[in-house]
Amino acid sequence: MNSSVTVRRTSRDNEVSGFFADLVAGLRMADLWQTFAWDEIQQRYRRSLLGVAWIVIAYAMFVGGISIIFSAFSREDGSFFLMHVAIGYAAFTFIVGNITDGCTVFTGARVWIQSIALPHSIHIYRSICRSIFTFALQFIVAAVIIVAAGWRPSLINLMVLPAIAVLLLNAVAIQYLMGLISARYRDVTHLVSSITRLLLFVTPILWVRSDLGNARSQFVDFNPVAHYIEIFRAPLMGLEPRPLSWIVVGGLTLVVWIAAAWAASSMRRRLAYWL
């Protein structure tokens, strides 16, 4: 639909290069997925008085409420704990949100996938665009808290930039992978939602890792989400992220991309049938 050149489709198309071509073609249609994403955000808050401000309000309420109760269990002081929760939970919703949104990224776009031959990746970008918007609003709350806690700019803060880049890179692959798998196997959506509920409690957001004993804190290292949050949160709090976290995140990024490319190469062409 979107090209004036010749389109040729056969049963023997190269699917791996097709996957990357799909990602690039989708990226070029930025205007379309931004419009889609903006419509979706507006629709969600349509006819509510405060509209998008609810994202900020809900987030401030959560962070405030949690900090009042849970900081009592921590050896860290109150402002540290508040920052810890505010940044950590924003990162957590973005990372885990990509997994849960990924489950519906293609099933929710059924009307478009079954009617127009668009690159599948535009639905991925639309979904990520929307979660970035939410993340940005939540981060405003976190930024206010950081400044109020007496922020002193330092070079280590800049480490957050590569962390954001890596999170976005992961988001694309995770959503593509989860989108394909859950379109084919619908049970995955339910599995993911039951795991994410557990993840909120086993990830160092509501508690601080250093408060745990030695053995328990090593157990946390088996939680990949903890590492993704660590590389984003630590530099913002003026701390150096542990090298282990970067190693784990780097390795997982590679794994996720390989898995996405493999899934796309074997499943992408059948997607329209599954919806």
Binding site: M1, T6, R9, T10, L32, W112, S115, R270, A272, Y273
Partner: protein, 370 residues
């Protein structure tokens, strides 16, 4: 320059667990060879297209005819790029716009104007180009102020007007339309037909699937007749429609006959199963005689009586009563009323002879009833 080339195109429509259980019950008929089966004989897919080959060049207006389930829509969806071919090749030169399903390709919660923007962007147009055409689309669709309302408030005809107006406004080289064009009123149909003609005069290609001979003759020159996923014939639209119509009349006669025979066979089988089960119910009190019998009826496959052919569950309660009149009336006054009270609930449930849990439940119910 626009061109469509389709070579030996095959598409298998996978079912993924939908309606697998019913597969074994189907009798073998002319449709048999279109089912893809696994080793156990369960249907895993449908051969929607089996080796379709055709070509269309600039200025061609092709009518797609064929009975329901012959593969017309699947072919259009493959041309639109929605479904990938399982084997064979599809090559399209030129910008393609497809209107295959009226409910698809719109954001129902967004306004008509917003959907013009979305569809324009999806067609690869810039915002400037979209704004340039907006007035024309609004005028052609004749929707007026409705364009600022969400599309979900539109009627089917209004949606169709908007879809058609958008699709043709951006002047695609290849236009693919499914039969829903007939949802429009006479005035719009005339307008649409004219627009399709103009479009093809600009060296575009039109592929139109429809069951309306007048629409096809008005719009198209050539016709492609699809039959069970294969190209049955290709040629002048009037000739093809003539031959197609005759063949369909012939087939319908055969089908009516077969349906009549199936209904008769079903009635016979019911009668046989009833007679066989009668002595057993005789053992119980006369009051209970009717009710358990009716319970068994819906699920004949599980009893040791002869299996009831497919279609029996489609019978209404009245037909059931007709098929077993003495049973409904003979067992005294309270029994028929009780039977009538139970049947509706059961006839809504889908008897699935292969469902092990349902079989277990039936056994339990029968054991408890004794």
């Amino acid at each position: 320059m626009s061109r469509i080339r389709v070579e030996n195109l095959c598409v298998h429509y996978p079912l993924y667990g939908r309606s697998r259980a019913a597969a074994g019950v189907h009798e073998v008929d002319s449709d048999f060879d279109r089912m893809v089966r696994d080793r156990k004989g369960h249907v895993t897919g449908v051969r929607a297209l089996q080796g379709v080959t055709f070509e269309a060049n600039a200025g061609d207006r092709i009518a797609l005819v064929g009975e329901n389930g012959s593969g017309k829509t699947t072919l259009l969806q493959v041309l639109a790029g929605v479904y990938a071919p399982d084997s064979g090749m599809v090559e399209i030169e030129g910008r393609t716009t497809a209107l295959v399903n009226i409910n698809l390709g719109m954001n129902a919660e967004a306004s008509g104007h917003r959907n013009i923007t979305l569809r324009g962007l999806a067609a690869g147009r810039t915002r400037a180009e979209i704004e340039e055409r907006r007035a024309e689309i609004a005028a052609f669709s004749e929707l007026g102020e409705f364009l600022s309302l969400p599309v979900e408030t539109y009627s089917a005809g209004m949606r169709m007007r908007l879809s058609f107006a958008i699709a043709t406004a951006f002047e695609p080289d290849v236009l693919i339309l499914d039969e829903w064009l007939s949802a429009g009123d006479a005035a719009f149909r005339k307008k649409a037909t004219e627009r399709m003609r103009n479009f093809v005069d600009k060296a575009g290609i039109l592929v139109l699937a429809s069951h309306s001979p007048s629409l096809l003759i008005d719009t198209c020159k050539r016709a492609l007749w699809l039959d069970a996923g294969r190209v049955r014939a290709e040629g002048d639209v009037k000739e093809i429609l003539q031959v197609y119509g005759e063949e369909m009349d012939r087939r319908q006669v055969g089908r009516d006959e077969r349906a009549r025979l199936q209904i008769e066979a079903a009635a016979e089988a019911r009668e046989a199963s009833r007679l066989k089960a009668l002595p057993r119910s005789g053992r119980r009190g006369p009051e209970d005689a009717a009710a358990p019998q009716e319970v068994a009826d819906g699920y004949t496959a599980d009893t040791d009586a002869a299996p009831v052919p497919e279609g029996i569950d489609g019978l209404t309660d009245a037909e059931r009563a007709l098929a077993a009149p003495d049973l409904m009336n003979g067992a005294g006054a309270p029994a028929p009323r009780r039977a009538a009270a139970r049947i509706p609930a059961l006839s809504h449930a889908e008897p699935d002879p292969h469902n092990p849990i349902a079989r277990l439940m039936r056994r339990l119910a029968r054991a408890l009833g004794r």
